[in-house]
């Protein structure tokens, strides 16, 4: 049979989880990572990253709105795929999705954004006209009280929401890792380290994405990039990346030392079918290269332009590497037989329900949503946005 080597059980020949299931952990990882970066400023008082705070929150929201779409497309029944939100259940990790998603969206992200932007929303509801005014007035919930006492309450409640949000962000992506890590029938996935690796890789990808978006948006607005901010974000990216890489290597060393009955088969797969995506793209290009680039900026005194270029390159490589990590987990886990005697091939469709074109659209869609959100809720100080005559950030 074409694409099949050795012995595969009949139900293993065709992959059930496609590129869309690769996208799902990638997108939720970006959400969790972006939110954790935002929490640095709010909870841990890292003032240097303040310029990215609101942008990180909006980025998290834009990607969170798209994150479940790959799952719904994968389910294949548009007339009833929405039921995954309506019928969450505790008996299955996958059926928990509705609880985890709605908690994070409604109780954390929307609440924090609303509290942080409330002053701006009230001011905009008074200074704009037409349909924009209507939108802002709805968003005020009929309350235009923005005196200092009310804003102080917002600040305290917002801090509390962020505090709850940090474990929630860990839960959101730890949950995704748990889904894979708890599949005991699959030795490529079954590892208690999986949720932890997923959380740290999420932080890495989210920080890299917000750093890139901040640099791109600031550059496109023809404003000066706050290098102190970007240097600080990059240093967090570097340190988080080292922890992430260490955890992945720990997992690898553990597997090599343990050498259970699956090891020879998985080792063969990594050196053949997964060589390009795992060794070359994920480890060399997407992990070692950006860590070395970021290390350069930590040990050498480089010019501002050199640092910017390195950050952009390292950020892009990081995102490619984390995507490759998701790919290798999801696709790699389905390429070998449970008999450990055979391998199959993943053939991705181009213009199919779960093909490349849909995956590209789902990757671009969050950026379009982010653009709309940025237009609606400008994340930068009012003096340069020109849309908030009397407003200032609420904290």
């Amino acid at each position: 049979m074409p694409g099949v080597e050795g012995f595969m059980y009949p139900n293993e020949v065709e992959l059930q989880w496609s590129v869309l299931i690769v996208l799902y952990p990638f997108l939720t990882g970006l959400v969790a990572g972006a939110f954790i970066l935002a929490s640095l400023e709010r909870v841990f008082q890292v003032q240097a990253v303040k310029p990215t705070y609101r942008l990180a929150l909006l980025t998290a929201l834009a990607f969170l709105l798209v994150a479940p779409l790959p799952l719904q497309l994968h389910l294949g029944h548009p007339e009833r795929s929405y039921e995954m939100y309506l019928t969450p259940h505790r008996t299955s990790a996958m059926a928990m999705f509705g609880f985890v998603y709605l908690w994070y969206l409604m109780a954390v992200l929307l609440l924090e954004i609303w509290l942080d932007y409330r002053r701006d929303i009230v001011v905009l509801s008074q200074s704009t006209t037409g349909w924009k005014r209507l939108i802002y007035r709805v968003m005020t919930l009929g309350s235009s009280n923005i005196d200092e006492h009310a804003l102080a309450i917002d600040e305290r409640v917002g801090w509390l929401v962020t505090l709850i949000g940090i474990p929630s962000a860990f839960l959101l992506h730890g949950y995704v890792g748990f889904i894979f890590g708890s599949v005991k029938a699959n030795p490529w996935w079954s590892s208690p380290l999986m949720p932890v690796v997923f959380i740290f890789s999420a932080m890495v990808s989210g920080i890299a994405l917000v750093m890139l978006i901040y640099m791109l948006v600031t550059w496109s607005r023809k404003e000066a990039i706050d290098m102190h901010c970007v240097d600080t974000v990059a240093s967090y990216l570097f340190y988080t990346f080292i922890i992430d890489f260490s955890l992945e290597m720990l997992d690898l060393i553990h597997r090599i030392y343990e050498s259970d009955e699956s090891f020879r088969s998985l080792d063969f797969m990594v050196h053949t079918k997964l060589y390009m995506s795992h060794i070359v793209v994920q480890i060399m290009l997407g992990t070692v290269a950006p860590i070395l680039l970021l290390a350069l900026t930590q040990v050498l005194k480089l010019s501002e332009m050199a640092r910017k270029r390195i950050y952009v390159l390292a950020g892009c490589l990081t995102l490619i590497g984390i995507f490759a990590m998701r790919w290798n987990v999801v696709i790699g886990g389905q390429l070998f037989s449970k008999s450990f005697l055979g391998y199959t091939t993943y053939k991705m469709g181009l213009i199919t329900r779960e093909g490349l074109l849909v995956a590209i659209v789902l990757m671009v869609l969050p950026l379009v949503i982010l653009w709309v959100l940025v237009k609606l809720l400008p994340p930068w100080p009012e003096k340069s946005s020109g849309s908030l005559p009397d407003a200032a950030p609420a904290h």
Binding site: G6, F7, Y82, L86, M106, S143, A150, I153, V157, L341
Partner: protein, 161 residues
């Protein structure tokens, strides 16, 4: 009292959440199928819908009723326990209307290697060949009769002694 007034927007937000929660419960009651949870965490009616699907396989007995000659031939060979539809495919429609619906002619060069292509993972006692070396792409039924595949001495010598 002032603190209560200054937190007024939060009470409005709480009211929105309560209203949203109630709307969710209402929408859920409307959208979730009525039979959901009848037997477990799935739609109960799905069982009846699946059971009502047409059956595609006729079953061994239906084949034997008409093809007694093939049954006799199979009895003497190693394929005696292989169901007809394992090779010929689902044929319920043919069993219902044998006159107008005929099974497709099988290409034994493709069909037989599904089971008999050599593979180290298969039990050593299972008959298997490297088809490219064994038959150079010739259909297997050039030499073997699929209903009783062992080649007899008579077939090997063309009936001469």
């Amino acid at each position: 009292m002032n603190a209560f007034k200054d937190a007024g927007h939060l009470f409005r937000l709480a009211a929105v959440f309560v209203a949203g929660g109630m709307a969710f419960v209402g929408v859920r009651a409307f959208l979730v199928p009525k039979s959901f949870g009848q037997y477990g965490h799935y739609r109960g009616n799905a069982m009846a819908e699946i059971a009502a699907r047409p059956v595609n396989f006729a079953g061994h007995q239906a084949c034997e009723d008409c093809h007694a000659d093939v049954l006799e031939k199979k009895k003497s060979g190693k394929h005696v326990h292989v169901n007809c539809e394992a090779c010929h495919g689902p044929l319920a429609k043919h069993a219902d209307d044998p006159g107008s619906i005929q099974p497709a002619k099988l290409d034994t060069a493709v069909l037989c290697v599904r089971c008999h292509e050599a593979n180290i993972a298969k039990p050593k006692t299972f008959p298997q060949v490297v088809s490219a070396d064994h038959s150079s792409g010739l259909p297997c039924d050039t030499c073997h009769q699929p209903h009783s595949p062992a080649i007899t001495a008579e077939e090997t010598t063309g009936g001469k002694k």
